[in-house]
């Protein structure tokens, strides 16, 4: 299926949970620590990463810490 990750189109195999997506991106620390995820502008709490499925056409934002004032 086709989804958008941080503005880039991506072809991924379904089904895919948020946890699997984050792991696949290698984002953040061991358990994706320091990373936050929103799917279609809805924040997905870390506690739900393993349950929430990403589906065709969804827009995923994966954010992490950068230096900032």
């Amino acid at each position: 299926m086709r989804i958008s990750v941080n503005g880039n189109a991506r072809e991924v195999s379904a089904p895919l949970t948020v946890a699997e997506l984050v792991r696949g991106l290698g984002a953040g620390g061991a358990d994706g620590r320091g990373v936050a995820v929103a799917v279609d502008a809805q924040v997905v709490p870390r506690s739900q990463w393993a349950q929430v499925q990403v589906t065709e056409g969804q827009r995923v934002e994966v954010l992490g810490a950068i230096q900032g004032g």
């Binding site: 990373v35 929103a38 950068i66």
Partner: protein
């Protein structure tokens, strides 16, 4: 002690982590500043180097205060704060809602709306605001844990441009006042503290100094000195001289 939302801090200097040329310099500058709170931002993970920054800061033992830098609307700022809560496991947020990229001045109406929403959502909200005493009061009224008026535009290094406004904000505030933005050098930080601010937040003044570690040390001293001077109570300004040596006992040489 600086107390914000029931939590006590030994340092009154908050350091922004933006602008340092390396994580190593940032790490040493934070240590030299004696800062206990540092700000961080959130961006798409493929443009940054997630992990290492947080690791360095966690090793330094500092509290990470996420900001909402780059947000122009209440909607985006609220969403960013909620993302930061997930990423950093904290409900504290430095709330920034910017009006335009030339002045980086806060958008007052969007800021107030975002502050209200986030307070209702259980956040400890520390808003970056203009030096408008009325807006500062409104932010306090909606439940912000502190107010953070600018001394001058972000990154301008112009110092405290309107000390009278800061003094009015300090005079009326029932929450800590932290001067956020505008500081260029140590005396600016001291002035903010002498005016009665409870703390100073700065990034560029340290990060872009020729020697950031040395400047961090200077800022630490300036904040401490300014605070002491405020507590000590300065002498009033006067037009004419007043001798500090008594005239009694002056000889007459004839």
């Amino acid at each position: 002690m600086l107390e914000i939302a029931g939590r006590r801090w030994g340092s009154r200097l908050i350091v922004g982590t933006g602008g340092f040329r390396s994580l190593e310099v940032m790490d040493r500058a934070i240590a030299a500043a004696g800062a206990e709170i540092v700000t961080v931002a959130l961006r798409r993970v493929d443009v940054g180097t997630p992990g290492s920054l947080v690791e360095v800061l966690e090793r330094a033992g500092v509290f990470l205060l996420p900001n909402t830098a780059g947000c122009y609307t209440a909607h985006d700022a609220v969403l960013t704060a909620r993302m930061a809560r997930e990423a950093f496991g904290t409900d504290w947020v430095k709330l920034e809602v910017i009006g335009d990229d030339r002045t980086l001045y806060p958008d007052a109406t969007e800021l107030l709306e975002a502050a209200e929403t986030l307070v209702d959502d259980g956040f400890v909200v520390l808003p970056y605001t203009s030096d408008d005493p009325i807006l500062a009061r409104r932010l306090e009224e909606v439940g912000c844990a502190a107010v953070m008026p600018l001394g001058a535009p972000i990154g301008s290094g112009m110092g405290i441009r309107n000390p009278y406004n800061l003094a009015i904000i300090v005079e009326q505030a029932g929450v800590p006042v932290i001067c956020d933005a505008g500081v260029g050098t140590a005396s600016d930080a001291a002035i903010a503290m002498e005016l009665g601010c409870d703390g100073v937040l700065m990034a560029s003044a340290i990060a872009h100094a020729q020697d950031p570690v040395k400047m961090a040390q200077a800022m630490r001293g300036a904040v401490a000195a300014g605070r002491l001077a405020r507590e000590a109570g300065r002498i009033p300004r006067r037009m004419h001289a007043e001798a500090s040596t008594p005239e009694v006992g002056l000889p007459e040489y004839g």
